[in-house]
């Protein structure tokens, strides 16, 4: 009961839209940590959350349109994984349908919250700026309470015993299929990111990074960040960005 209540509270913090909520509760790696903490396995939670997170590396919400729901993929993905005792790859595959489901919740949130500006207009008409501010602070979080916190509480309260039964019912071939999916999906995160960053003239840097890592086996990313920063500083000093402009013209 207490764990389910904490899950509900976590879902509220996870769903509210603000920088502190985004970075400390929504990001799957942090959501995984909190879920793990609630169920006494914070390290496991962080590992699962981080792996789910990597599939969403290039995740972006432009104008409120989501690709898949980052909020629940991390939160409920980790929950299902810990309660079902599944492997990390399988957990990542499970996070996909949860994320797609959560996406409908997000659409519902954005739609219901669209009623708030109607009331705000009425306050504006009266010049009541404090009323607008109060609504801005309370409107969205109230919708989150009903759409995200209460459902997650119910899932955590009633659902957790069924998860284990459900997982056990899955045949071996389907499990190995899900495991392969879990390993494949990380490529989506990379691809989304690549779509953002890719420019033809920057291709050599991508090949260089891949080549060095693939052949040397060194995959500590801090190393690549340091080398990358040095490369960028040197090349921009040499006028790398300016040459691009001429080419573009």
């Amino acid at each position: 009961m207490i764990q389910a209540l904490l899950m509900g509270l976590l879902a509220l913090l996870n769903g509210i839209q603000g920088p502190y909520h985004w970075y400390f509760f929504r990001e799957p790696v942090m959501a995984g940590f909190w879920v793990g903490l609630i169920y006494g396995a914070p390290v496991e939670g962080v590992i699962i959350g981080a792996t789910i997170n990597a599939s969403y590396l290039g995740w972006i919400s432009a104008g409120g349109a989501n690709a898949s729901d980052l909020y629940w993929a991390g939160l409920l993905g980790t929950f299902v994984a810990i309660k079902g005792g599944m492997s990390i790859e399988t957990a990542v595959a499970f996070a996909v349908p949860i994320g797609l489901l959560g996406n409908y919740v997000h659409v519902a949130y954005m739609t219901i919250a669209s009623l708030v500006p109607v009331k705000m207009d009425a306050y504006a008409e009266r010049g009541d700026w404090k009323g607008i501010r109060r609504l801005q602070f309370l409107g969205g979080p109230t919708v989150v309470l009903f759409l995200r916190a209460i459902p997650v509480f119910l899932i955590a309260y009633f659902g957790s015993e069924y998860i284990q039964i459900l997982i056990n019912a899955i045949p071996t071939w389907a499990m190995s299929g899900l495991t392969a999916v879990g390993k494949m999906l990380l490529a989506l995160g990379m691809a989304m990111l690549m779509k953002f960053m890719f420019k033809k003239n920057l291709l050599p840097f991508f090949v260089l990074g891949f080549g060095v890592a693939a052949y040397s086996g060194m995959t500590d990313l801090l190393l690549y960040a340091i080398i990358g920063v040095c490369l960028a500083v040197i090349l921009i000093k040499l006028g790398f960005g300016k040459d691009n402009e001429k080419e573009a013209l």
Partner: protein, 275 residues
């Protein structure tokens, strides 16, 4: 009323910047997106500029309840500018300034700034930090998760605050000068180099799918995965990533690509080819 009482102090602007940082998305919605946040930060500003003037307050709030949406961090330059313009409008006793210029400027610039901001923040800065800290977190270090949370929060605040204050200073100068300085372009090139270099290595680190199919011949067992790795190590992760990238740049939706990968992975895994 004398002009002095219609001036904003630095503290007023700082307070507005902080409110923007806190509330920009709190009641985000399809109908007006960030308009509620804009009106929220403008309340105290208008109160200061037009004390006890209900009519001006009403006009101002209605002006800022209009549809508004930009990237909240780099785009904070816009609410900053809007605050400066409101101050200019209040001080303009000759009535040469038209209030509609504020709305026009916001509407003209929110789109381009959202594009730049999303690319730089969601496409470059956040993923680079995330990819480094996720590496730690995946190895089971809890502080890796916290390093991400704390690091990005500080960065978010610093960028938002700096951009808001810069926007206020730019005021009537218009945002062109800010963009023409080449600052954003240099930032984008810089992060593009670092990002793509790291991305290449990230594929090797994170995408672990491989071929597990084994051919049994009279001379022995050949593992396809080992064979492929001899030619180009980690070729399969690269191919899968490039496939997804190709589909995305063809304009396919992320959900579609997700389902393609799901089906290919599931079938491949169930048949014992991928793993």
């Amino acid at each position: 009323m004398s002009q002095a009482t219609r001036s904003l102090t630095k503290r007023d602007v700082q307070k507005a910047a902080f409110f923007w940082h806190m509330t920009s998305h709190l009641t985000y919605n399809y109908q007006r997106l960030q308009a509620g946040a804009m009106a929220t930060i403008m309340g105290p500003i208008l109160e200061k500029l037009y004390p006890n003037d209900k009519e001006k307050m009403k006009e101002g709030l209605q002006r800022h309840m209009l549809y508004f949406n930009t990237e909240p961090r780099w785009g904070a330059v816009l609410p900053g500018m809007a605050v400066a313009l409101e101050e200019g409008l209040a001080k303009d006793d000759s009535n040469e300034l038209d209030a509609s210029i504020i709305t026009e400027l916001k509407t003209a610039l929110m789109g381009p700034l959202a594009g730049i901001g999303d690319t730089v923040w969601a496409g470059l800065i956040k993923p680079i930090i995330l990819s480094i800290t996720l590496g730690w977190a995946m190895e089971g270090y809890v502080w890796g998760a916290w390093a991400y949370g704390i690091g990005v929060t500080i960065l978010d605040f610093v960028v938002t605050y700096a951009m808001f204050m810069r926007g206020y200073k730019l005021g009537m100068d218009s945002v062109d000068r800010f963009l023409e300085g080449g600052f954003i372009k240099t930032v984008t090139t810089f992060l593009g180099i670092v990002g793509l270099f790291c991305l290449g290595a990230m594929i090797v680190k994170y995408v672990s799918v491989g071929a597990v199919y084994k051919l049994t011949l009279s001379t022995g067992v050949i593992s396809l995965g080992t064979l492929a790795d001899k030619i180009v190590p980690k070729a399969l992760p690269l191919l899968v990533t490039l496939l997804a990238f190709w589909l995305l740049s063809k304009g396919k939706k992320v959900t579609f690509v997700l389902l393609v990968l799901f089906v290919v992975g599931f079938v491949g895994g169930a048949l014992g080819i991928l793993g």
